[in-house]
Symmetry: C2
Subunit: 420 residues, 2 copies
């Protein structure tokens, strides 16, 4: 019999306990041993809960319990779980965590400390989708060319509603909050930070790249409007918040931002709260993994998969390699990213304006690929929407500043990157 | 250093050797050891090949070589590889096979013989997609409600061309043969037999169901016409050759056939030679796995993933369980399948005919859901296309016979099952 201790018994922890009980027959058949939850830890013991788990508010009652074989960490936060996971590993206990923030900041130290003790984290990225296993085991023969992931269900739900139903950003955010898809302060989701944690985890397995959220380009979906949506539709794009990791020469681009992608790509077809990750390997080509990225039961499904793997005796190194991986690869500075761009400007609606804009762009070596001009409610002002050919991010940022400084351009310019 | 011997050095075997060499750096980093191909076996040594592998025509030179750690079986066929794989396992060697036919017939005996020796087969099903790992490890917490797979690229290529470009079956089969997507005798692919082998492998992992190809419903795509395609489009369906495993009470349906599925389901969006498998777990909900189902490098990617897993010390039981799994579940006889149906009939174009048909259907408890009547080049004959509500397969088969016996119905009735 294998005994589990859970740090942080919330929705996911409850689901873990319930599934271990309800599906005990198949889980025991698959793992070869019975798996039970021995005890759990919560911050506030006074809070009323509907649980059969024996609870304590002392994390050490789990971490230092010699009867507990596997510690499941579902607390959230960074430094407290880091301390407790280290302690559990030092006590020789296997650890399963769903904590993406912990891994975004401490995955390399944890791999070092864990050594041969299993430390698994399938639930940390894209919820119930077994993407960690796919990348770490299933694609191990491949140099990874690129990863593109829809890894935040809140953003994908909102963008889907904006695109399919013409909803405005503010009204759909309110709806998402009412449905429990978005937090009262939605910044962590809509600002791209949640997705960045997951991207960093995947990039470590794929490239052995060490980076923290503050090292990479992170933008959210807050500035997307119906004008952008209409343009995207007209030119055959969907708009998705993507986490992107891409090998370019000896560099790796890591970035999270709203992205225009061709409507006929598989990942463009992923709607609503669902998540999906596309991985291109140099040998296998394109593969995609799709499923629910959140929810108690879906996340618990991934947590239990890790537990079963540990009980079976599977382990494999935490990040998927025993020695340095792709040690020549370096994180590419944001400025060196090269991609295509969509820009939205409000300009004077008179002759000569277009020439002023294109000649400004030319100064930075940027050329226009497709353009659309639309009237606004003010007859003297037009909206100018266009996409560019490939150019470096640094040139685009300079060009945007130069354009915003022109007399004929009003307010801020909106920009969305394009991936084909 | 880990030494590999390959039984059957064809396209996939060559790719395995080439990738192990070209990607040796990352593969060693991930596996923790260097992996090399020591020798290979071919049937005809006289055939000219561009390979650096030391070749023999004696399979025992690999299977009985004490220096070889892992035997990779890529021969095809059933009984000869079965004998050789058993011999390799008896010699204590781990085995990796891409041979779906071997597993369709002998997976349970092999699991028994293998015991704790790793016997892995990621490449046997859906080529480069790590679906075996996903189902065996990633979803182990779940009772599996259903599996739907596009697991034959030839059929999906042909159906995509018929649907997107209006191509006729015969002309697109010829094109597929010229492109090397279809064999000179295409029956194994277009008849659904290839997909059935893969379905049986997945069903074993999901349900522990023992069945052979001849025990289950297998139909192909040979009878699909542009009339069916036009109807499907009009009513919001795609047509795909699906392998379906579905739990219904204490029974499991296993079937391979052309299927009408809603255009907006994820698997309906999988076009061309690509494969995809949707798995619905009772806890995780719907997940999907997409990628290339064939090709030397993609298949070799899966073979090497298994090798790396073995070298890492991962194993887990071959079919994913150590004791009986879902032992109460029985294979549901074909006749007891309950689903919706599409029928295509040629009938006399005169009043009273529709009444004769609907009253015949009513005798078997079958009711019509949607209908379309189309003229033919013969003005006395009309095409009648309709879908039914759910009914048992046995009733539908009887109803089709009764309809074909009516004077007003000409020739054979075409039928396509529907899954929503």
């Amino acid at each position: 019999m294998i005994k589990i201790g859970i740090l942080g018994v919330g929705t996911v922890g409850e689901s873990v306990a319930k599934i271990l009980e309800a599906n005990a027959d198949i889980i025991e058949a698959r793992a070869g041993k019975k798996i039970v939850v021995k005890s759990g830890v919560v911050r506030n013991l006074a809070k009323k809960r509907d649980t059969s788990i024996r609870l304590s508010d002392d994390p050490l009652s789990v971490v230092d319990d010699p009867e507990i074989d596997i510690v499941v960490e579902l607390m959230g936060g960074v430094e407290e779980p880091y301390r407790l996971v280290k302690q559990a590993l030092k006590n020789g206990k296997a650890v399963v965590t769903a904590n993406k923030a912990l891994l975004a900041y401490h995955r390399y130290e944890l791999q070092e400390i864990a050594g041969d003790i299993p430390l698994m984290y399938e639930a940390s990225t894209a919820g119930g989708i077994p993407i960690i296993g796919a990348l770490r085991n299933g694609l191990s023969a491949n140099h990874i060319d690129s990863i593109q992931g829809i890894m935040n269900g809140t953003c994908n739900y909102m963008l889907t509603k904006m695109i399919k139903e013409g909803a405005q950003y503010d009204e759909i955010l309110k709806e998402a909050q009412e449905l429990g898809y978005a937090e009262a302060d939605p910044t962590f989701d809509v600002g791209g930070f949640d997705a960045s944690h997951k991207l960093l985890i995947l990039a470590s397995i794929a490239y052995g790249i060490d980076a923290k959220p503050e090292d990479i380009l992170i933008e959210g979906i807050e500035n997307i409007t119906q004008t952008d949506v209409a343009f995207a539709k007209e030119f055959g794009y969907e708009i998705k918040l993507l986490g992107i990791a891409k090998k370019v020469g000896e560099g790796v681009e890591l970035r999270v931002h709203a992205t225009m992608i061709p409507q006929d790509s598989m990942i463009a077809k992923v709607d609503g709260v669902m998540n999906a990750v596309t991985v291109v390997g140099d040998r296998v080509g394109e593969t995609m993994y799709y499923g629910p990225g959140a929810g108690g039961d879906a996340t618990a499904s991934a947590v239990i998969a890790d537990i079963v793997d540990i009980v079976r005796g599977n382990h494999g190194p935490m990040l998927g390699y025993k020695k340095g991986l792709e040690s020549g690869l370096k994180l590419l500075p944001k400025e060196q990213i090269v991609t295509q761009y969509y820009l939205r400007l409000e300009v004077d609606d008179r002759s000569g304006v277009l020439a002023a804009i294109t000649s400004t762009l030319e100064k930075y070596g940027i050329s226009i690929e497709a353009m659309l001009q639309k009237p606004t409610s003010d007859e003297d002002i037009a909206k100018l929407l266009f996409t560019t050919h490939h150019c470096p991010e640094v040139k685009m940022q300079e060009a945007i500043k130069a354009l915003e400084a022109l007399d004929v351009v009003y307010g801020r310019i909106a920009m969305i990157r394009i991936e084909k």
